[in-house]
Assembly symmetry: C2
Homo-oligomer: 107 residues x 2
DNA sequence: AGAATATATGAGAATATGTTCATATATTAA
DNA sequence: TTAATATATGAACATATTCTCATATATTCT
């Protein structure tokens, strides 16, 4: 039997663009440092130095990771003088992170 | 003010083990090849060769990735002669994958 | 046992990733 | 304008990842 002309999109192969977006999204969540940063930002906004101190990381490392997250529009920032306050900027992704943390904890 | 003894677990720092499980889970979903394999298995079980053919991948590459996914208990298999039929084995993770694919498609 | 088929495994190569170090840029205050 | 503070950036290094190639293992059939 041939493929039905009513085949749903959910059964089609993944197109390049979708695949790229999905893999990039999960890549953002696959590194312990980025997870810790996002988790911190899930509670409230933090400056770069606050993040570095709270998580015992170098300022440069934090800045690099924030750039990564910013490029994917997972975080945003507001400026206050020389200080940049970062906060999360993607509710869907933060929700998925929270779901998975809860799931991991219950085992 | 000191930390309340009623502080919710959701506000605590992430412990090592949770962090490890979460990062490993997302790492599994961060590679295009593994995403394509899991997506295929979300539809129905497939043998190693079927996966390789459908996705135009080498048999060895597929086998390596399946081992990775098997170690995380994201897939399982049943044997039929010399053929191994793989299927998904973690509804939570498959649900997250589906959510994220849908989210990516709608943009 | 030997041949055929399906899958797994290990080593090696190419590429990607994450951190550190040094330094650049931007904002504010004196 | 100069100094002080906060953050960003680029290069270099160490490690991790993913694929390919060759070969090993497992099952079935004759």
């Amino acid at each position: 039997m041939e493929e039905s002309k009513y085949t749903q999109s959910v059964d089609k192969d993944l197109d390049e663009e979708t695949l790229f977006i999905v893999s990039q999204t999960f890549k953002a969540l696959s590194d312990p440092t980025r997870i810790r940063i996002l988790y911190l930002l899930s509670q409230k906004e933090h400056s770069v130095n606050e993040i570095a101190e709270k998580l015992s990381l170098g300022q440069s490392a934090v800045s690099h990771q924030l750039r990564f997250l910013k490029n994917l529009r997972l975080v945003k920032y507001r400026r206050a003088g020389t200080t940049l306050y970062y906060s999360h900027d993607d509710k869907h992704v933060m929700n998925i992170l929270k779901q998975t943390i809860d799931h991991a904890r219950h085992h």
